[in-house]
Amino acid sequence: MNRRESLRTLAIGAAATGLLLDASCKPGTQKITEAAPPKEGAPDPSRLPNEIARDKKLSEEKFFTDHELATITVLVDIIIPKDEKSGSASDAKVPEFIEFIVNDMPEHQTPLRGGLRWLDVQCLNRYNTTFREASNQQQIDMVTLIAYPKKAKPEMAQGVAFFSRMRDLTATGFFTSEMGVKDIGYVGNSPTIWTGVPADVLKAHGFDSVWG
């Protein structure tokens, strides 16, 4: 079976999972686009029944209080704000991702809950208000104290650890969203023919040929 036939096979197989393939394009330019979503209630054939049940249960669990989730929303938008290229972390539903992931990975629960409280107590002592209700400038001042591990004061170490965890989860949540994947410029996950590093890139990096 040649590549074109294999792509046609893929399109037929993929129709059931909501993908359509334009097999009329030349090889290398095929695009797979989202079509109608899979039929409601049809189980994902790549998942085992116990996985489907577990994911459903996890998605219905709620770990954070409304205050905690609102605080997380402020934090993730400070970490990844909207700019000229893409939206903010909360635009990409990062708080919802973090809510899911702490249920999936309970090892995040105590560091995040405790870290949020640590942050609130810091702000109460400094500004007589929680982090969420502090002014934007106060929030930035506070975050600045814990966002730079090498520069932070030793008494801020717990806050630094908390913020580094938040930064990692925010980056994952944002750059694995549809908005974030587009932002970072990942253009794969679509049928192509790999013939090596493009000529202009080879040249820019000082390589003579695709084999270096």
């Binding site: 079976m1 197989g13 790549s46 999936d104 930064r167 970072i184 990942y186 794969g188």
Partner: protein
């Protein structure tokens, strides 16, 4: 009232095969195509990559963004049903030693998610010259015709290099390196380390005379299994085609309990539990072939005790379970400031490595026997859970776009830009090497523990020795040299406190050797055709017969030896010996 009973079928199959991975799948393929009536038992569900693969899903289609779970140890999209621990199927370890056992319970077994790195063992791997490791009862020349046939049947890419202990195959064109890999290649050359095109069982071109498999379309997701059968999985390339002959019957969710034998000690069939109805069954075959994985096949034999085989089937030598060995494995990673702000394009490539370093020091005298190869990777890959974790360890080390250094970590628009700048700059390298097959590294039946089916479980005893640790140190030193020559910034290297990053035994998932072959029935369980010395209608076709693994990943040798055994069975049947 009890509704538990043993259900016996009257059908007598020409062969009953336990396991559907590379070994069981190849035996089924050859025998079914030769017209034998074959029954295959698989402990997990039926799996067809065309229907069951998560290929081409984007990260946001997983609520955990592709992160691993207890049931998907290699991530949410990975094909393996199974993992390091299975619910209700424990294994134990002895005397504080460690062994990690990865089991895939599914049609095709671990071949659905494996790395597709397909290396032949070389002349010195079968007949070593290091004075320390044991020779096989066969030579490379005995196996070469079968490697050739496997290449043609399944398809493999690579380049003809003429290297002494890295035999060439019949190759499709290899994928060219990604940009990171060009830097690695250049750095390795300066460090005196050979790199060549990888060898992988992926169809970079249509496979001649095969209408059922599609050519690779370069999504780089072989670990999810391939919907167009563009790579090798036993399910897609062997078992499903064998079913189409009409001669192979597969029973899924069938967990083998023991090999049944008669008064004369010959194998008569398999007793198993059907996981769907939890009933006990017995099936009969003229020949029994085990391909349940190295450790699972040893477990089956040790659990198949009878008056004719008091120490377990095929175990009058007492070697079953012994000489267990996994490849050594250690890795390192780094990043290239030269790749910051790089141009974007589709760099997924294939789902195997693109380049590797075959062992480049030959039989040079070192403080460990033989060597290892290095696998490399990096590129503009699909973001997933953990994407750019720990950026605070990187972004304080290089100047920003304005040429000024800044404080590590941060937040806001500037940080968002840093993620864009660093994307695609990282790479990794991993050594995979020869571990010595030792009698004292073994699995045995735990005298006290059973699984949820009442089957006695395995207990492992495995320790690395000085040779493996010294090899890992050599790997780390080499990685550092290569990264230095690349102009890369290396992540902190693994030192003596972690045995130089040497992974726990089992973690590389190349475990072999537990039912070794040999000419002497007192020192081996199988003859050189994988036929039991003690029971001539019993064969083992997974990685259990390996005497001594080279640094090469086991799959291509499992396939070649299983094909060789299946052809031997056909020849012996004609002579009416079995």
């Amino acid at each position: 009232m009890s509704d538990l009973q043993i259900k016996k079928t009257s059908t007598l199959y020409d062969a009953v095969i336990v396991g559907s991975g590379a070994g069981g799948g190849m035996a089924a393929y050859v025998l079914a195509h030769a017209g034998l009536k074959v029954l295959m038992l698989e402990a997990g569900p039926f799996f067809d990559p065309a229907k069951n693969s998560a290929q081409l899903k984007f990260p946001w289609e997983s609520p955990r963004r592709g992160a691993s779970t207890n049931t998907r140890n290699f991530g949410d999209f990975d094909a393996a049903f199974g993992g390091w621990s299975l619910d209700g199927e424990p294994y134990t370890t002895k005397n504080g030693t460690d062994f990690q056992w990865f089991r895939s319970r599914m049609l095709g077994g671990r071949t659905n998610h494996w790395g597709r790195i397909s290396l032949r063992m070389g002349p010195y791997d079968f007949q070593p010259k290091d004075g320390l490791t044991t020779a096989w009862p066969i030579t490379y020349d005995d196996v070469k015709p079968f490697y050739d046939k496997v290449d043609r049947l399944i398809g493999i890419f690579g380049t003809v290099e003429g290297l002494e202990n890295e035999p060439d195959g019949i190759f499709l064109p290899p994928p060219a390196p990604r940009l990171n890999e060009l830097y690695i290649k250049k750095g390795a050359k300066k460090a005196g380390v050979t790199t060549i095109a990888s060898r992988g069982s992926i169809l970079t071109q249509a496979l001649p005379n095969n209408k059922d498999r599609g050519a690779c379309f370069y999504c780089g997701q072989c670990n999810r299994s391939c919907k167009v059968y563009g790579d090798f999985s036993s399910s897609s390339c062997l078992v499903i085609p064998a079913i189409k002959t009409g001669n192979l019957t597969v029973i899924a969710n069938a967990m083998a309990r023991e090999v049944l034998t008669d008064d004369k000690g010959l194998a008569t069939g398999i007793s198993y539990i059907n996981k769907d109805d939890m009933q006990e069954y017995q099936v009969k075959g003229k020949i029994v072939i085990l391909g349940a994985s190295a450790c699972e096949s040893a477990r089956l034999l040790l659990n198949s005790k009878s008056s004719a085989h008091p120490g377990g089937l095929a175990n009058s030598s007492g070697v079953v379970g012994k000489y267990l060995h996994d490849s050594t494995g250690a890795g390192a990673s780094g990043w290239l400031p030269q790749l910051m702000d790089r141009k974007r394009y589709n760099e997924d490539g294939v789902g195997a490595i693109h380049i590797y370093s075959p062992w480049w020091l030959g039989n040079k005298k070192l403080d460990f026997p033989r060597g290892y190869h290095i696998e490399y990777g990096g590129g503009l890959h699909m973001p997933g859970y953990g994407f750019m974790d720990g950026i605070e360890a990187k972004n304080g080390l290089v100047p920003g776009r304005d040429g000024k250094m800044k404080d590590a970590g941060g937040f806001g628009a500037d940080l968002k830009n840093d993620y864009r700048r660093f994307y695609g700059a990282s790479f990794g390298m991993a050594g995979r090497g020869t571990a010595i097959a030792r009698e004292d590294n073994y699995c045995e039946i735990d005298p006290e523990v059973v699984d949820k089916y009442g089957i006695p479980v395995l207990r492992f005893h495995y320790k690395w020795a000085a040779e493996e640790i010294k090899q890992a140190k050599h790997m780390q030193d080499t990685f550092q040299e290569i990264m230095h020559e690349m102009g890369a910034i290396a992540e902190p290297p693994a030192g003596p406190e972690t045995m130089y990053g040497l992974k726990a035994p089992g973690v590389i998932i190349h475990e072999v050797g537990t039912v070794r072959m040999g000419d002497d029935p007192k020192k081996s369980a199988l003859n050189k055709y994988n036929q039991a010395h003690d029971c001539n209608n019993l064969f083992v076709v997974d990685a259990a017969p390996f005497v001594q693994q080279g640094d090469k990943n086991a799959t291509w040798t499992i396939l070649a030896l299983s094909m060789r055994t299946a052809e031997y069975i056909l020849a012996q049947r004609k002579k009416l010996n079995v």
